[in-house]
């Protein structure tokens, strides 16, 4: 007979889906929420529901938004002829922190990764291509991680966009090889932006 009530075990298991949370951490979190953090638990449940109902993807760039367009696409001060392509929303936050880039974004929500069974189709190239045409984009900066998947995705995108007469650049190798974008510090990111080169 299990010692813990099923609802406690269910809560631990639900917490285990969070990134970097193993069985032991999840158990500690569940016990914390039940013993000391009851009001925190209710707040967390409400925050999850609020985020899920209010937040969707920006119709234009696919970053997180509560309106039809995200805060960045709505911002009139941003340069509108330059597009920064990133893998995920967290990368936008990292780049904004560096204060080096002032153009628009395009979030792929994925990267070419045969190992994880993700092919070219997950990149939404038509959508990106359509934006470049309709918005009169001059330059596309590929701000993807310096990983094998990032390299492959950059090559593929550069080739696919070559017929559109748009300048395609990639962040400089100021980033450490094998580094993930979201974990890069601001200074390194800033260098990578200013030293970007043609693909």
């Amino acid at each position: 007979m299990p010692v813990l009530p099923p609802a406690v075990t269910a809560l631990s298991r639900a917490l285990m889906v969070l990134p970097s949370v193993g069985e032991r951490s999840a158990t500690r979190m569940a016990h914390f929420l039940l013993a000391e953090g009851r009001s925190a638990a209710e707040a967390l449940s409400r925050a999850i529901e609020g985020a899920m109902s209010k937040v969707h993807l920006c119709k234009r760039c696919q970053f997180f938004a509560e309106d039809e367009l995200c805060a960045l696409c709505q911002d009139d001060i941003r340069e509108r002829t330059i597009l920064c392509v990133v893998e995920k929303p967290l990368d936008v936050v990292a780049i904004e922190r560096s204060r080096e880039y002032h153009g628009l974004y395009h979030v792929l929500h994925g990267i070419w990764s045969p190992v994880k069974g993700r092919g070219h189709d997950c990149l939404g190239i038509e959508r990106l291509s359509e934006r470049i045409d309709s918005e009169g984009i001059d330059e596309v900066i590929l701000a993807l991680g310096m990983t094998v998947e990032g390299d492959a995705t950059c090559l593929y995108l550069a080739q696919a966009l070559s017929s559109q007469g748009v300048k395609v650049t990639r962040l400089a190798q100021g980033m450490p090889k094998g580094g993930e974008l979201e974990f890069t510090d601001e200074r390194t990111l800033s260098r990578a932006f200013s030293g970007r080169s043609s693909v």
Copy 2:
């Protein structure tokens, strides 16, 4: 103007109350839930609500329970004359894992800690005392941490219960299983020597 929608920031902040979750981890968790883990997010929200509505403290021992009494208090096979006093529900789970103890529990939900502003009153001594009398307990095992707070709480409880004619014991102190002698601190070694037993 903040880049992220307020609901995303609110979700990160709500996640930050979890133990061992800092700003960076909370942000990653929030992004994960919004980008890839939408069904996981709904499941988590439901699991929190389910646990909060179903789980309360066992009327007798204050461990987690869905019924009036917890699974351990309901278990007829457990010895009913021995009581193990622990600080928190997580300690019950750890002790059950050892399969060494077969009696009942009493969860204090706190420990005497002047530093954290918790005095004797947080220990619920009347409740423990009342259980010892009404349930005919022969032995109380104080299974508290070997910390300053644990020491102080043990001393206080032993004194407070001395008039009830119940045997009060504390867990043995010594070297942990797998511990190397050269890495064992002086206090632990000293205790291990004074508490040595025949082979």
